[in-house]
């Protein structure tokens, strides 16, 4: 495209003498060719660099660049032919050494040739788009040596053999190996990949496929993993010593696939040593190894996770359904906590605190804890036990830890409202009997419940605390107003409980002894005088009393009893013998309570302030009771407990359940109305699922019950069915 005149322009700048000698080019090239020969013959010391440089410059300047370049190609090719012969002739181990030596020679020669021909490299080669000298030298080496028939195959076989013998424990010359591999890489990444890496990966796959087969037949899971890990590390080390860094991912991939991915199921389920055994025996090291190895392969972690989930579910299910365990709720919950701790520790020590494993653990716990409908009750009982006695003298932080653990179990519960029911009952008992260990611990737990479930969940529980506080103030006020009249009438401590906040059962009040009745009346007058519009009713089934009693031989004791027991005992102030019927008539205590109360007064060894005829464990309607004159105890204060079932009895359980169901109804209805109000129309399935979602934080609503509630709302004309599509509901404003 350019005019010839312009092309001359560049040369003009370098105007030089005209070449006269027609053989000039040939002569100059001979000098340079001779120099190249001498360089290859290790005989360069006699050469003058400056002269050669100038000759090469002159050839380019005088437009013999083409001759210079093609001469170079021919000469170098012929030298490489010689080198290839001597490499070929080398036998056995010497082959690699010879190859390495010749490669070093060639590199050095190439560098020197490039030095001489630098001017050509800089001017002639770019303008004619030819291959630069260094690259040319590498290409010629590749074509005449590395890709030359027999050498190519021999080289590959030897390299692979060396790797193989290193794998079987022999020591090889890694330095030589590194040099040869580096040569392949210098020739271009495609040479390295095509001539070596491809075969290397193939052979490795074969090797590890066979080895893993052999290992898996004779090793247990832990040992196998150790071996696999060692192999993996060996391969990485090999790459760092003499292979291309980019091979690391490829070769580890091969090892992972052959040694782990292909045997994953078998390893995990290996008899006596598989994953389940590791979990049971807390083999943190083996588990950690399994985690880090399995993590490298697709689906590895999910395989571990699945087995772990089914194992936890299985053991958890056994734990919660074992009737043996159900006897002791505290032990039951403690076992759950231990189980959780065990797996938490495994996840943190061996599974790198993997979030997905934590989630799996949580979902497994959620699954099996809810298999047992009594879990909410037991957890509440556990808390009750802790707050009654176990936490005495425990530091605040430890209390927090235990409470946090309880909260963790609480989170797994689907029927949180049932827990609330029980918790309320147990809390009420603790508060009323003043048995709680620490007010701070109680409040701390309430705060935790509140953050977990919201204000609504705990408002009543907080109300109970308020009641306790106000009652204290009220009592102070009461006694302040009664200063003048306090004679030796019994001291009364009243706790005024707000209806609704407390799990009070309506109970027929018993007949209180006259002494008490008087004080009670005074209090009632005082209280109603200070508050208007209130009604007081006595919960005689919940109180306690301290009685001073004198037994035979003048022995004095202070008896700590329940209100019912007090009523019974006070009867014996006027009589030594009373029949069951008489007591029942005088006190009007409900029969079941009365029986229990008499049982604890007459049948418990060491606490039997009454004597019963006939002597038997159970209370019959025809029994007669006597004041036990011979009662003796080494303590001044004697606490006479009621024979109370800590755990609920079957009918009580039914009752609680029923109450919970009853409580759920308005909640479900409220949820339905709230959803329908915003959606206006919705079909049945979606409504049910939304209601379930809305109530999830409190309980798992039963679809059948939801359906009943919907029907009830339709009856009350909150909703209507669509006249066309019967499955659609419509909100009626």
């Amino acid at each position: 495209m350019s005019t010839p005149k312009r092309r001359n322009f560049q040369i003009e700048a370098f105007k030089h003498r005209v070449v006269v000698d027609p053989n000039y080019a040939e002569k100059t090239w001979k000098i340079l060719e001779h120099a190249i020969d001498e360089i290859y013959n290790h005989n360069a010391s006699g050469l003058s660099f400056e002269e050669l440089y100038r000759n090469a410059y002159n050839m380019v300047l005088h437009k013999f660049g083409e001759k210079l370049y093609s001469g170079l190609v021919t000469t170098m090719t012929s030298h490489l032919k010689d080198l290839s012969k001597s490499i070929e002739a080398a036998q056995g181990v010497l082959f690699l050494e010879e190859l390495n030596r010749k490669w070093a020679d060639h590199n050095k020669a190439l560098q020197m040739i490039r030095d001489i021909l630098m001017y050509m490299d800089r001017t002639f080669i770019p303008s004619t788009h030819k291959t630069p000298v260094h690259e040319l030298g590498l290409n010629l080496w590749r074509d005449s040596i590395i890709h030359f028939g027999k050498i190519q195959i021999r080289l590959r076989i030897i390299l692979l053999e060396l790797v193989q013998s290193e794998r079987t424990g022999e020591v090889i010359n890694r330095g030589l190996m590194r040099n040869i591999i580096k040569m392949l890489m210098d020739l271009g990444s495609s040479v390295y990949q095509e001539d070596f890496e491809k075969y290397f990966l193939e052979v490795s796959a074969h090797f590890y496929s066979a080895e893993s087969q052999q290992f898996i037949e004779c090793c247990d899971c832990g040992d196998y993993l150790k071996k696999a890990e060692r192999r993996l590390n060996e391969e990485m080390e090999r790459v760092s010593h003499y292979l291309d860094v980019r091979s690391e991912a490829k070769i580890t991939n091969v090892v992972e696939k052959e040694m782990i991915a292909n045997h994953m199921q078998r390893l995990v389920h290996m008899e006596n040593s598989g994953l389940v055994n590791m979990l049971v025996d807390d083999k943190y090291e083996d588990l950690g190894r399994m985690y880090s190895l399995f993590r490298r392969v697709p689906d590895g972690l999910s395989t571990i996770k699945e087995v772990m989930i089914s194992h936890i579910r299985e053991t958890g299910k056994q734990l919660v359904t074992d009737p043996e365990r159900l006897r002791d709720p505290v032990d039951f919950v403690q076992r759950l906590l231990d189980e959780k701790d065990k797996h938490d520790k495994i996840i943190s020590l061996a599974f790198n605190n993997d979030k997905t494993f934590q989630n799996a653990l949580n979902s497994s716990f959620e699954y099996f804890i809810n298999l047992n409908p009594r879990s909410p009750e037991f957890i509440s009982l556990f808390v009750d036990d802790k707050l009654r006695k176990d936490l005495k003298g425990v530091s605040e932080e430890d209390v927090e830890i235990i409470l946090d653990k309880v909260m963790m179990l609480f989170r797994y519960l689907q029927e949180k409202d049932i827990f609330e029911k029980y918790y309320k009952q147990h809390l009420a008992k603790r508060l009323l009997s003043g048995k709680t260990v620490s007010d701070d611990a109680e409040r701390s737990l309430i705060v935790k419940l509140k953050t977990e479930c919201g204000y609504q969940f705990t408002s009543k529980l907080e109300g109970m605390f308020t009641d306790m506080k106000t009652s204290q103030d009220t009592m102070q006020g009461f006694y302040a107003s009664q200063v003048a009249e306090t004679g030796d009438s019994p001291t009364l401590a009243v706790q005024v409980l707000t209806t609704g906040s407390w799990p009070t059962q309506p109970s027929a009040p018993c007949n209180l002894p006259a002494e008490i009745l008087g004080v009670c009346e005074k209090f009632r007058t005082y209280y109603l005088g200070t508050h208007t519009g209130r009604r007081l009713s006595w919960q005689t089934n919940m109180g306690t009393a301290d009685l001073k009693a004198t037994f035979g031989k003048g022995q004095k004791h202070e008896l700590n009893v329940s209100t019912y027991q007090m009523c019974v005992l006070m009867l014996f102030n006027n009589a030594d013998r009373l029949s069951y019927k008489e007591i029942e008539q005088a006190t009007e205590i409900p029969p079941s309570d009365l029986k229990r109360c008499l049982q604890s007064l007459a049948c418990v060894k060491g606490k039997n302030v009454l004597r019963k005829e006939p002597m038997s464990k159970d209370i019959g309607e025809g029994d007669a009771f006597f004041f036990n004159d011979k009662f003796a105890s080494k303590f001044y204060k004697v606490k006479i407990g009621t024979v109370v079932a800590q755990k609920e009895s079957e009918p009580e359980k039914q009752e609680t359940r029923q109450r919970v169901e009853e409580d759920r109804k308005p909640q479900i209805e409220a949820a339905i109305v709230r959803i329908m109000k915003s959606r206006r129309t919705l079909d049945h399935n979606n409504l049910v699922s939304e209601v379930t979602k809305l109530l999830q934080s409190r309980f798992l609503a039963n679809p059948v019950i939801i359906k009943k509630r919907i029907e009830s709302l339709i009856e009350r004309e909150f909703l209507e069915r669509d006249s066309v599509d019967r499955k659609m509901y419509r909100y009626l404003a």
Partner: protein, 441 residues
């Protein structure tokens, strides 16, 4: 012996020079001295005690001084070309180039020379190359100059009119040209800067059919893409995108009926915002259209036009526009060299003009050249008639003015390779402005 080893003795054309191996090491391994001192060749030095070099001693002295101090001082009696030739022999040309002029600073520029070419004037564009060379487009020719200002074989396009040129790297130039009716040529080609040979032709295809097209303004991105404003035969107007590595068309952004992209005056790739600025200006179109295209979402993300602007601002026709990413603004210039600014962060804002008209009063030549803008290293350059103004600082204060008296108005200028090239319109002359090397102390 240990001390002497660092000493090197040369006999250059009969004159003895002594220097140290340390000084020579400054030449780098890829020079004659680098090779000479390499241990492969070092053996013979012991015998002869000095190296003989059959070259010009005066030039050697200058180059040796360059290696010693890093500074280039050419005595008046030695032609520069002689030094360059000798430097090429020793492999020191790069050292000479980097010592020849200093780092670019618009406020310290001095005129380093003017080159008169053979073309009949009325140049289209001048573009600075990355290593201090430049190319000048005239009609259907591109003249290419290296940093020594030697002209290479020109790029010749067989009478197709060239619209824009640009350097991909020091070896490759892209040329965009008009299509001629019925010839199916035009478009864009990649040429060798040293030989002027066509190396590659970029193609546009619409609906899998290769179409002939006219390519206009171009821009290159650092992620190896080429953008060009394109006009196809059947109203296929828009911005074409090619990959510099594969040469294949990778995208095409069609213009919408009420907007102009295919006939743009300026394209500018904005690296940080990953957008392309496209500006079509008067008098190519009656109205001015400036927009930013985001190719990832295939959307015009910012636009401005003077359509419907009141008649009174008729005088404020935008003649060039440049985006300034640091300040998120676009700088505009009108025919009176008033600078205007627009905020890139919101669409629909107006132009804030800062009038400099009074400065220009009565200075309008008969054949005015309208302003062009350039941005380099935080300095804003604006050409107007026969001078180039340099603006600095956040308020763009006028700090310098570059002017030469002959050659007529400046029709285009370009900054690159630490040099500024200004092309004059009346005669085929371009000026080279350089920053001198830093002062001694």
């Amino acid at each position: 012996m240990g001390i002497q080893r660092d000493r090197v003795r040369f006999n250059v054309g009969g004159k003895i020079f002594e220097t140290s191996a340390t000084t020579l090491a400054n030449a780098g391994r890829d020079s004659m001295f680098g090779s000479m001192l390499d241990e492969n060749w070092n053996l013979q030095s012991r015998e002869t005690d000095e190296y003989f070099i059959d070259r010009n001693p005066a030039c050697f002295s200058v180059l040796l001084d360059l290696l010693r101090t890093g500074e280039l001082h050419i005595p008046a009696k030695i032609p520069e070309k002689l030094i360059y030739r000798e430097a090429l022999y020793y492999g020191l040309l790069d050292n000479v180039r980097t010592a020849k002029w200093g780092q670019f600073d618009g406020n310290r520029l001095t005129l380093a020379g003017s080159i008169t070419g053979q073309a009949p004037g009325d140049g289209t564009a001048i573009r600075a190359g990355p290593l201090g060379g430049c190319c000048v487009a005239h009609g259907s020719m591109v003249h290419v100059y290296d940093w020594m200002l030697e002209e290479h074989s020109p790029i010749y396009l067989d009478y197709q009119r060239i619209n824009d040129v640009g350097w991909i790297d020091s070896e490759n130039i892209v040329v965009s040209a008009c299509e001629r009716l019925g010839r199916g040529d035009g478009g864009m080609g990649l040429f060798s800067s040293s030989t002027g040979d066509l190396r590659y032709k970029f193609q546009v295809s619409h609906e899998n059919q290769v179409k002939s097209f006219t390519a206009g303004a171009m821009s290159f991105s650092s992620d190896y893409r080429i953008f060009a404003s394109c006009k196809g035969r059947s109203n296929e107007y828009g911005i074409g995108v090619w990959d510099q590595v594969t040469g294949k068309q990778s995208d095409f952004f069609y213009e919408s009926p009420d907007w102009s992209l295919g006939d743009a005056d300026r394209l500018q790739w904005l690296q940080n915002s990953n957008c392309l600025l496209v500006a079509t200006l008067f008098p190519r179109k009656d109205n001015c259209y400036i927009s930013l295209l985001d190719f990832r979402v295939k959307r015009m993300v910012w636009s401005w036009s003077d359509i419907g602007a009141p008649i009174t601002v008729h005088e404020k026709r935008v003649r060039d526009a440049i985006a300034m990413e640091e300040t998120n603004s676009i700088c505009l210039v009108n025919e009176y060299e008033d600078l205007g600014f627009m905020d890139l962060r919101r669409t629909g804002g107006g132009v804030k003009w800062s009038s400099r008209r009074r400065l220009m009063k009565g200075k309008m030549p008969d054949e005015p050249c309208y302003p062009k803008l350039a941005l380099h290293g935080g300095q804003l350059f604006s050409s107007m008639n026969d001078s180039i103004s340099v603006f600095c600082g956040s308020d763009w204060v006028l700090t310098s003015r570059l002017r030469r008296s002959y050659g007529g108005s400046i029709c285009d200028f370009s900054i690159g390779g630490d040099r500024l090239f200004a092309l004059h319109s009346e005669e085929n002359v371009f000026d080279i402005w350089e920053t001198p090397p830093p002062p001694l102390i």
